[in-house]
Amino acid sequence: MSLALIAALPFLGALLPGLMIRAGRTACATATGAVTALALFLLALQAPAVLRGEVVQTRIDWLPALGLNATFFLDGLGLLFAGLILGIGLLIILYARFYLSKSDPMGQFYTYLLLFQGAMVGIVLSDNILLLLIFWELTSLSSFLLIGYWKHLPEGRQGARMALAVTGGGGLAMIAGMLILGNIVGSYDLTVILENKDLIQASDWYLPALILILLGAFTKSAQFPFHFWLPHAMAAPTPVSAYLHSATMVKAGLFLMARMWPVLAGTPEWFWIVSTAGLVTMVMAAKIAFFKDDLKALLAFSTVSHLGLITMLLGFGTKAAATVAVFHIINHATFKAALFMSAGIVDHEAHTRDLRRLGGLRTLMPITFGIVVLASLSMAGIPPLNGFLSKELMLEEAAHTTWITPWAMGLLATIGAMFSVAYSFRFLAHGFLGPVRDDYPHKPHDPGFGLWAAPGLLAALVVIIGLVPMATAAWLVDVAASAVTGEAVHVHISHWHGLYAPALWMSLAAIGGGLVMLGAYPRLRAMWDATPRPEAKRIFDGIVEPLAALSRSVTEGLHNGGFARSLVLAVLAIAGAAYWAFDGGSHLAGSRPTLPVTPVTAIVWAVMVIAALVTPFLHRNRLVALILTGVVGLLIAPLFMLFSAPDLALTQLSVEVVTILLMLLALHFLPKETPVESTVPRRLRDAGIAGIAGIGIGGLAYAMMTRGPAFDPISHFHLAQSKPGAGGTNAVNTIIVDFRGYDTFGEIIVLGIAALVIFALSRTLLHDATVNRRLAAQPRQAESGDRHPMMLVVSTRLLLPMAMMVGVYIYLRGHNLPGGGFVAGLVFAIAYLMQYMASGYDWSHARQRYDHHALIGWGVLIASLAGIGPWFLGLPFLTSGYEYVHLWPLEEFEVATAAIFDLGVFLCVLGAILLALASLSRLALRTGEGANTRAYDIEEGT
């Protein structure tokens, strides 16, 4: 449990800074520090057990199905890293309290820092690689926030994005690698994986897994060729650089390589990839560091170089080299963090970090100078400081490693060390030695204790470890290295390995060479400046910006808002997929006898097909197109009728006429002509696409019609039960109001919604200034002076009641004969529309006693209540019943509750159509035009 708590504490604590900042900056820092200290304390409680060689474990089931569990374990390696993270974290918190200015949002900073800290602790304590991945990505995210903390700096924003892109991307690769590993072993538990070296290394998937995992590690640890992001991350505040980019996050990659070392290392692939990457990184980054003027950039490349060194050591795959790697991790953390903080102090005090503008700080900032001397000499590998110890051991290992040739590794390592000496000395010499200047941007002096305490402590460690390594560090190296190698390690660290140790001479060569290089700096710098070299940021931008631009052009090119193209692709996809599916099945031509062609049908058919075919040729005159569409629609009705579907004919007809009215209303607002815009090839293409669709659908229709259904259709039940079960002889109607009344319920709601949408949009349009301007500016055609011809008005007075009568008749007989609430509603609606057309909207509407909205609402309500009613009898929604009633003196008649539902249908349809067309006609009332107050315009009776 306590391991989980250690990992969780920083996350829980991340809530504190935001709250505590109200109590002041010190309180905020104290709270943050307390959280870290508590975690460190808890870790320390576990340390004795680990030092005894035990492995402390905590397991909380989280997602057992996937094998992702909150499983933690603490061994030597974990202890080392967790200690570093929390320990240095504590120092950074202290340092940051004094480093951040008053204008910086400190609460945010500490929150991000604690999130990061938690993620790092999580990585090093995870006993589950999926859990580890989670923490891994969390470090990328939290570091993104930390690097971009100073969001006003463009470098900060870009650096943050670059870091996220590289480390996040590597993390994604690592996900794949880890999953492969888990699949090979059959478990995502690290402890299980670590026991399966042979299984893993024998697997075909070993190399892919290795490469993917190393991608994660290399990106995080800024190994060549992914080293370029780290210097750009230096735009972050110095505490961030010191913490993330020297002590912790960049070491996560190393940690991972160390962690996986027992199962991944020891193969030629591992050796070649890891040690080569490390070696190249070490040498190249050291060289670059030498020429950097920005203190933090110099330190950043130096960090890259040292990480390369450690990577290289891990790559050797030997127990001894791994042990040295562990030792150097400790040492590097101490001197590099101290140096970063010192650089921050210089920046803080002198307001510059540029080596060209510094120099002579030795006397102005003696304390800082002292710290820098110790740390930079350690970095240079000068005895007896701790950096010397591990570098010596490294050179020894390098000298005994064959890489291409027996001596190449040793030589390159020495060259790397030489550069390392050179930049360390340059840091010291160009920054602190030399004459005192009078042109610092700000007069520097030593900072207060709060700011130098942390680097001071680290510098002390540099010395102490350097002097008495066996007493101070060896135990930690032992447990950690044992954990890495899986074998008991008892390291022996000494300052003197004898005259025959190659490392001695390599070391001397490095120091000598470094001094010479520092002396020759101006000339070397001139050569360096003269050499063209790729700039990381430009390369990164050169990849990412074109990628983004490409994405943009692909995306916008693909989704360019063109409707026709999207439709063409859809049609082709559908046709292609359908053909492919058809081709993959077997098809027997149908054997159902076909109907003879009857003359009436043939005529209707021919007229309809011809009218349809002509439409594309005549469609530019929109009224003509509409008339032709109307012809086709009207002729479908008799087709339905001829093929035994009178109900459909009724519905089709009444819907068609309302549609025509609607389209005419719409055409009033729209242009009357469609301009010629498409080219002939395009029209041919469209015709081709249309042809494909037509042939496909026609073919399917033919194939379907010429065969019988494979199984007894369910409609046999409907036919059989229409009369006895649903009490109606019109099977279509009983399906609509009873068997499948629920469909109808949905359908009337669709219609109701349509009307509401039309109402809402037309109201929005009427409130829109642009729309009103355009409406007022609509060109007016020559218009008849007779708005409401008297004859129409008079005939409507008769037609309206007549049509209503017909509507009621159709409604009542629907259950038994063609008709029903739907058609009745349409007939009523058409009758009302006739009235509206005859006498105009205002005159007619003023005399309307009920509201269209209410009609829709009542329709839905009545239909719903017809559905809900049966609940009270314990029956399901929409259950209907019917009864034959005999009331003297009337003949026996049938009362069906389905009629109530049908009434709802009727009302909803009526309301919907009236509301829709009324909304459209409201829009047509031009601004400034008075309402008509008479039924007709003729001056009657004069």
């Binding site: 020559a782 008849s784 708005r787 129409l792 107050t933 315009d937």
Partner: protein, 122 residues
């Protein structure tokens, strides 16, 4: 000659005539040269064609002892509406200048309604 045969012959004659009229109506649409003239043909001839069919439909049931009355309704409806359709088409022709242009005077001092000004609302 039985009553049934007489009825059948009668109905056949009506249908025959109705067919002719319907055809004449549609033919007139093509043959007559001026738009206003064309308006005459279908409004009358075609209507009579339908009327014939409706009459036959109504009487056809007579042989089975009952008369269907719904046809009467349709006929009534057609008679009620055909003049209004014709009026509207004529008005359209007049407004668009497609009718013969030399309209006579109304004799009332006011223009024809279609060509007049909108009557302002009070």
């Amino acid at each position: 000659m039985t009553t049934a045969l007489a009825l059948e012959l009668f109905l056949s004659a009506i249908l025959f005539g109705g067919g002719i009229f319907a055809l004449v109506g549609s033919y007139g649409l093509l043959r007559l040269p001026r738009p206003m003239q064309r308006l005459h043909a279908p409004t009358k001839a075609t209507t009579i064609g339908v009327g014939a069919a409706l009459l036959v439909s109504a009487l056809d049931m007579l042989g089975q002892g009952q008369i269907s009355w719904q046809e009467g309704l349709i006929t009534l409806f057609l008679l009620l509406t055909a003049p209004i359709s014709a009026l509207f088409m004529a008005k359209t022709l007049i407004l668009r200048g497609e009718a013969d242009p030399n309209l006579p005077d109304t004799g009332t001092g006011k223009p024809w309604a279609t060509l007049g000004q909108e009557r302002p609302d009070p």
